[in-house]
Amino acid sequence: MPNPFTPIMQGMKITLGHVFKKPVTLMYPDERPKVAERFRGLHALKVSHNKAKCVACYLCPTVCPAKCITVEAGEDANHDKFAAKYEIDMLRCIFCGYCVEACPVDALKMTGEFELANYRREDFIFSKERLLEKK
């Protein structure tokens, strides 16, 4: 019959070892996690020359498996195409990043923003204004 204290001692050894290691727990929200560079958080519409780069090609709503993106194109004064409406329903989004991958003009990116909790359902629908990249 093996010694009944051996497993206990082994367990204690591991516990004791952690006492001297750096703690894993983050004191959120006082402490902030360091988000990886390629983390897929809240989307942002990139801005160039003071307007969104998005040309409303509809590839992101087409590729989106969760069907959470709504785009409506408009024609500006120069007869060019722009996104008159660009909405992402974060309640439906699965953060797969296909939209970013599909974008032919590199107009969309995913930021490290992960704090997306809200009180009302409609607040999860991110309009174009809310999605525009903050500089």
Partner: protein
């Protein structure tokens, strides 16, 4: 037949087929950019290169090379693939890669080919084009930078539309598709060029940026405008709104070819001006109401009116709906007063052909146009009222060598076709002219059938010499036309009828039918008479029998009855008499004075504004049923979108009213369809995409036509009414596309008259007749004769019906 081998498959094709067509027959798709089924082979894009065993050493374009016996063709060898890839690289050298913002993306043949042939990088490098994009017109956007110079737009505009608005300009690298003097596009905006453009060089502006092609649901249906019965494909976005029409070269007898109304006039379907709820007049105001309230009010009022009730319906409704409305009015309400198209609008067919041919339908079909040797067109307006039939005439003349003879009171596009012989007659003298032709045929022993003594006697006064001054043409021209008509093996008479053409009445139909009977032209392919009726289901309305029964009032009598109190309740289903019927003041008074007026329509029309109850009903894109084209082709439609607002299909509305009046509602549309006598041999459920022709059994009788005497007081102008190319009835006024190119009422005047009256193009002029006055824009038109004016009848803001009281020719004065 010629037998050849393509990619180890044996195929037998007609000897005039090309390799491309032969390959298509065995399901081998040779990539191509410059080919369309309707167009002649051209060989511009060099994508369809194939290897032919017998012509080794070079690659052969499949689309222009005719097949020969024993030919061995290979379409996918490495050499062919390599050549095609190079062709694509050369095309993409100058083609901008702006697919994300190009509306053609997803439907683009160049995009598809680049994908299929894996053209990912370009070995070559060159600057893109910097052509200016043409935004000058509201319907067609021309971006020459994207053009691949396949020439399809140029060819369709020339070969089928016969407009020739586009052409190749310049040479070599500078070649582009140009317009006249390189200015803005000056054409009739049928959009055929857009439909065939393989890339995004030509785009429909009303659809610009509305949706991506792949997000659209394609719904096949039948066009709801004129009687041609063209098949169209509607592009539906989010199962909600119709945002475009989609081209399909394999659709219908017309191979997807559409006119400006069919292609650009769809906006009325998903218009935000559509009626959404029933309206009931309370304290003089139309207020929203529930269906139940509206229907019970209508049921009680109709019951109360009984035999003093009447109905006017639009021939835009389906056969089943017209049948059901007839059942409601005749059986449940107990009235015989039902009619459509102002009564005279259908007289040419219902009464004219009904007596002359023994059946109220045309003897020929639209398919006969291209099989004919001689086409006798009465009035060039055929092109305006039925543009797709006009395209058929053009193809018959240009491709099949048909002779075109025209009798018309104005010139038009048809009279400019090659070899067209126009007899420019005085307005209102068509019957006299046709009688004179019949007289010549009899006198010169050209008639196959023996004329009846009554007809011979009646035609005594119509010798060419006597008719010539009445008609304003030379006697020789009449004789020549008669000889040509009699000599043609297959001769087809075409005329257009409808609300705007009171001159196309029973007498004209009799006179035309007599020619066909005397000439022995009935019952033969490519021969006979084809009456082009105005609305999509005009023929159906006659087949259903939506005309006054014995003792019933016709449309004019119904309106008179409203004024004098013999009609107590009037049900207007879709018609807009205030605008489209002649004699606006009288119509308005009639509708004002009738006790109870119900209007069922898509919009709050000028007529609906006078109603006591307004019912919102569905457009053709929201309902099921059958339409009968003018040549008795019965075609089925299916809903493309759900009903707008709380509008309901008329079928449901009438069914419910029948129920409320104690009747039994037929269970299905098929059941109602089975009760329509002329369609007894057709099974509703078996009507396919191509439709089914209902049989026409001819019992020709020579009826003596009475030629009307047209006189206009001295010094007055002869005002002709008619239809504009861009409109059909008043429905197209709700289509933004058609309104963008033809948005206001106008009158056409000849140049000499305009000079005499010092009227400039675009001036506002006042037309005054005995009936009233109207102010419209003047357009100086080379097609008008001196002393003759022409005005389309569609427009509500300056209705021509305020000066026109239903005469074929109205005497008017014109002043600035």
């Amino acid at each position: 037949m010629v037998t050849l081998t393509i990619d180890d498959k044996q195929v037998s094709v007609a000897k005039d087929a090309t390799i491309y067509e032969a390959a298509k027959q065995v399901g081998i798709n040779i990539p191509i950019l410059c080919h369309d089924k309707k167009l002649k082979p051209f060989g511009a894009c060099r994508m369809c290169l194939v290897e032919v065993e017998q012509m080794k050493g070079r690659l052969i374009p499949a689309c222009t090379t005719p097949v020969t016996e024993g030919m061995i063709v290979r379409s996918t060898t490495p050499a062919v693939e390599k050549a095609r890839k190079l062709v694509l690289e050369l095309l993409l050298l100058n083609h901008p890669l702006d697919c994300p913002v190009c509306d053609k993306g997803g439907d683009c043949e160049l995009q598809n080919l680049a994908y299929d042939h894996k053209v990912i990088v370009n070995r070559l490098n060159d600057e893109k084009f910097h052509h200016e994009i043409d935004y000058n017109n509201p319907l067609i956007e021309r971006d020459q930078n994207r053009c691949v110079l396949c020439g399809k737009c140029v060819r369709i505009c020339d070969e089928i539309v016969a407009r020739g608005a586009l052409t190749f300009m310049n040479r070599g690298i500078e070649t582009k598709i140009g317009t006249e003097f390189d200015g803005p596009l000056n054409c009739e905006f049928c959009g055929s060029c857009i439909s065939v453009c393989p890339v995004g060089a030509l785009l429909a502006r009303p659809f610009k940026f509305k949706s991506r092609f792949w997000a659209l649901t394609k719904k096949k249906t039948v066009c709801g405008y004129c009687g041609t019965g063209c098949n169209i494909t509607l592009g539906v976005k989010e199962n909600k709104s119709v945002v475009t029409t989609i081209y399909d070269e394999n659709q219908g007898f017309h191979n997807g070819q559409l006119c400006v109304r069919g292609r650009f006039g769809y906006q009325f379907i998903s218009s935000d001006k559509r009626l959404l709820t029933p309206l009931i007049r309370k304290d003089g105001q139309l207020v929203q109401a529930a269906w139940d309230e509206a229907l019970s009010l209508i049921a009680s009022k109709l019951k109360e009116a009984g035999s003093a009730a009447a109905a006017l319906a639009t021939p835009r409704m389906t056969n089943e709906e017209l049948s059901l409305l007839k059942l409601l009015m005749v059986k449940q309400v107990g009235t015989a007063h039902i009619d459509h198209s102002a009564g005279y609008g259908h007289a040419a067919v219902s009464e004219g052909l009904g007596k002359s041919l023994g059946v109220a339908a045309s003897s020929a079909t639209i398919l006969d146009v291209q099989k004919s040797d001689l086409i006798l067109a009465i009035k060039t307006d055929i092109y305006e009222t039925h543009p797709v039939v006009g395209f058929e005439i053009n193809m018959a003349v240009k491709n099949k060598g048909a002779k075109l003879q025209i009798i018309s009171d104005k010139r038009g596009k048809l009279s400019r076709l090659p070899g067209a012989n126009l007899l420019l007659n005085k307005p209102g003298s068509d019957v006299a002219l046709l009688n004179a032709i019949a007289k010549v045929m009899i006198d010169e022993n050209l008639a196959v059938a023996q004329p009846t003594p009554e007809l011979s006697a009646a035609l005594q006064n119509f010798t060419p010499e006597k008719a010539a001054p009445i008609c304003g043409v030379t006697a020789d021209a009449i004789v020549e036309l008669a000889r040509a008509y009699a000599a043609a093996d297959k001769a087809l008479i075409l005329f257009t009828s409808g609300l705007a053409y009171p001159g196309a009445d029973a007498q004209l139909a009799h006179a035309a039918a007599n020619l066909a009977i005397l000439g022995g032209k009935l019952g033969k392919e490519g021969s006979g008479i084809l009456a082009l009726q105005e609305k999509n289901n005009s023929q159906g309305a006659l087949d259903v029998g939506f005309i006054p029964a014995q003792g019933g009032f016709d449309a004019q009598q119904i309106l008179a009855g409203c004024s004098n109190g013999s009609v107590k309740a009037l049900f207007i289903a879709g018609e807009n008499p205030v605008v489209s019927y002649p004699g606006q003041a009288a119509v308005q008074k009639a509708l004002d004075s009738v006790d109870f007026l119900v209007v069922a329509d898509l919009f709050l029309t000028e007529t609906a504004q006078l109603a006591d109850v307004v019912l919102p009903v569905c457009s053709f894109a929201e309902k099921e049923g059958t339409f009968t084209a003018t040549d008795r082709r019965v075609q089925k439609i299916a809903p493309a979108i759900p009903a707008v607002g709380s509008s309901r299909p008329e079928f449901q509305v009438y069914g419910e009213l029948i129920q409320r009046l104690g009747g039994e509602t037929p269970a299905s549309r098929a059941e109602v369809f089975a009760t329509i006598a002329p369609y007894s041999g057709i099974n509703y459920n078996e009507i396919g995409e191509e439709g089914t022709f209902a049989p026409v059994c001819l019992k020709p009788v020579q009826v003596v036509p009475v030629a009307p005497v047209t006189t206009v007081e001295n010094g007055k102008y002869m005002l002709l009414t008619g239809a504009a190319l861009y409109h059909c009835g008043t429905l197209s006024l709700k289509g933004e596309g058609t309104m963008a190119v033809c948005g206001e009422a106008y009158v056409e005047i000849s140049r000499p008259d305009a000079v005499k009256l010092s009227i400039a193009d675009g001036d506002q002029v006042k037309l005054t007749s005995a009936a009233g006055t109207v102010a419209v824009k003047a357009i100086i038109s080379p097609r008008m004769q001196e002393g003759v004016l022409f005005a389309p009848y569609h427009f509500a803001d300056a209705p021509i019906s305020s000066v026109w009281s239903g005469a074929a020719v109205t005497g008017v004065t014109i002043a600035k």
